[in-house]
């Protein structure tokens, strides 16, 4: 596969082990994944002009929460169209609602799924129009 065809995914996940596993799997799947361990760094990356096809966003993050990050992104006209899926450890319908309101493509609870399943789902989300 061409490097240019690889989809760019930003993974915002504070747990390093999990992040590593996710990156490993995404990479195996053929995506180009970048890890940000907190929302600020992710924001910085975006502000610096990095653009991604998909953002894997955890909610419970140190500092700014995932939802706030999402909000910020949406407020930024430049970034509002970024496709983002929330993949969080915890579920919570209220969060899901907010996330959906903020235009999250999906809301996945980590603990309910195997990693493979999650990867599949995300892949599906990425490929959705």
């Amino acid at each position: 596969m061409d490097a240019i065809d690889k989809k760019m995914i930003l993974v915002v996940e504070d747990d390093v082990a999990l992040g590593k596993a996710i990156l490993f799997k995404l990479d195996k799947k053929g995506y180009s994944a970048t890890l940000a361990t907190d929302a600020e760094s992710a924001l910085q990356l975006l502000k610096n002009g990095a653009r991604y096809d998909f953002i894997w966003l955890d909610i419970l993050l140190p500092g700014m929460s995932g939802l706030d990050f999402l909000k910020k992104i949406r407020e930024d006209s430049a970034l509002k169209d970024e496709r983002i899926a929330i993949v969080s450890a915890s579920g919570g319908y209220d969060k899901e609602v907010i996330a959906k309101q903020l235009g999250a493509v999906d809301y996945i609870v980590k603990s309910q799924f195997n990693l493979n399943d999650i990867i599949e789902r995300v892949a599906g989300d990425i490929n959705k129009p």
């Binding site: 747990d15 915890s90 990693l115």
Partner: protein
Amino acid sequence: MNIRAKLAIVFSVVTVSVGVAVFFYLNAYLGSLLSDGMKSTLRVVAEISEGSYFVFTEDVKTRTIDWSSDGYIRNTVEKMIDSGTPLKEKNRLTHELNIYLKEKKIVHDPSVIIMDILDRNGFVVASSRADRVGVDEGKEERELGAIRWSEAMKAKFGEAFISSIVSEEDESTEAMTHATARIFSTTLGKDGFPLPLDAIVLLHFVRSDQLSGMLNGSFQEEQGGLTGVAFGKTYTSGEIYLVDKNGFLLTSPSRDKKRHINEKVSDYVISSCFKDGGEINEEYLNHDGIKVFGASMCIKRDNIMLLAEVQSDETFAPLASMRRSAILGILFTVAVIVLCSILFSSITLRPLDSIIATAREVSEKKYSARAPIKSKDEFGYLAIVFNDMLDKLEKAMVEAYDKAKDLSEKVLLIENQNASLEGGRKAMINLLEDARELEVGLQNERDTSSAIIASISEGLLVVDKNDKIILMNPVALKLLGVTREECLGKCPIDIISIFKGDELVAPEDRPVARTLKDGENVFIGREDNFYFQIPSGRKFPVAIATSLIKSGNLVGAVVIFSDITEDKLLDEAKSSFISTASHQLRTPLTSIRWYAEMLLDEDVGALNKEQKDFAQEVYNGAARLNDTINSLLYISRIESGKLQEELVEIELKPFVKSIFDELAPLISQKKLSTTIDIGDEVRIVVDKFMLHEVISNLLSNSIRYTNEGNHIALGYDIVEGEAVCSVADNGIGIPDNQKDKIFGKFFRAENAMSKVPDGSGLGLNLVKQFVEKWGGRIWFYSIEGKGSTFYFTIPPRS
């Protein structure tokens, strides 16, 4: 007392007084008249009797003189007392004289019982009783004052002396009178008169009968005198008698023949005569103690007293009869007077009676009555005037009656009006009383309510139907930071801004507005995320409950609210704890799982069987832990109320089927048979996630706690309007003594534990929580060793 009686009394009193006065006057006058009369009569009688006495005595005197003049006696006596006469001669002469006296003299007069000749010493020298010669009569004179011979001794010729009447019992039983006379010689003296001798003749006369007869008139009668007789005839108690100076009767009273001579009579009378020398003529008590009128004639010469007496009773007899007559007369007069006065007054006062009768009639409302005019006197005039007055009265009464009739009609009218007013008034009073009672009751309720309101620990606010605040409790004031004065009458919206999250809640969406408009009770809980912003600017999260107040008509709404900042913080702390915990638990767990998974997937190299097995164990353990944590987190979320239902309508059968499919590996592994007994067309509104968890858990329990070849059946039915699901198996069942704990957290029944050592014990708890969260019920039937059937309901939702 009426006039008649008064009149009668007056007249009788007057009459009686007059009568009594007259009576007493007459009594006194007549009395004195009688007594005076009697006195004078007696005086006269006494005097006359004295006269008679004197006559009598004169008679005696004459006899005495006469016999003293007897020549023979004279000569003989002369010779006898001559001292020259020899004694023998004297004796012879004495003897002859005695015989002479006895035979020749006293025979001629039977009243002379003794004739004595006394010498100058008083010795009897000759006597008709010869044995008396020598008796000392002089002694008698001295002792009794009897004879008065001493006087006779000095007497002149023709003088005779009578002595008092004495009683000499030795001489006679009767009272005697002595008479003496001097004997004179036959020889004449120089003066021509006979010469006196010193001898006297003493005659003893017994003539008391005669005397008393004389006194009492019988002598006079013989002699022809009438006075004494008349006296005796006139006065039955009249007595004339003689008494000597010692008080002895000398004559017997003619009436009282029992009285005899020598009886003593009253001393008073005697003393008045012989001592005082006075004669009495008065009323006194006689010797018998009887009141008598008496007149006395004191004949001192003879030492005798003459008494003429008449008993006072007899004297005053006329008086007594007069008294009787007078009394009768008075009584009669009084009676007559009384009768007359009564009669008179009756007659006179009759007109008055008729006037009185008329007045009575008039007072009994017979105004036409009039008094008859019967007489021309004052009563007649009174009747005329009275009638006149009655005319006027009648007229006035008629007028008054008419007026009264008029008035009473008016009064009746007013009374009727009054009655109805009164009725109205009473009704009002009743109402007032009821209102008052109510007020009191209300006041009590108010007081109770106020107490309650003041004491509740949440803010309470009441608005009227126009959303104006009418009540706030102290907590409300405190929470809102306002005073009552600022709030009463204002709308809550003027004081509180309500936010949901950051959004201002529109006025019509505010809880009170909704309540007032729709009548619904609104509950805003923690999860609704409402905030109050108060005048001070402070914003705080609130829980609100509003309710309608109605009593017949809409009265208003009551709002109870509380500052849930702390609760929210708590909540947030809890949820952040939960989320943190969950996150902190889950993240590493996820890590384990994913890496185990990657190992198993041989993403980093092939594994031998043992390695694969080991990795599998790691994965299983992580998966179980994951389930446990998930369940715990669900439970905690439900319990802290953070789990919200998301309702969708599903077709039940396919839904259930998919769950079975998920569990298919485990089912086939145990070679279990299954049944799904659900109608194809059944659709229910549920929270998919929760229903999934419930069915999934129950099914997994059934799978785990049955033996190979057992059966699991899932059913659905409508029972009494309720949707009931059942999951039945014929597995190990639940022991009876563990049934009550079966829904407890981490509880594992003994038989379950031995069958499946590693179970979390949370499954049924979670199921129960979910079912109850959606408002259903869960129960079971189980027999140890035979199987269990779990039921739960799904209430209809919209």
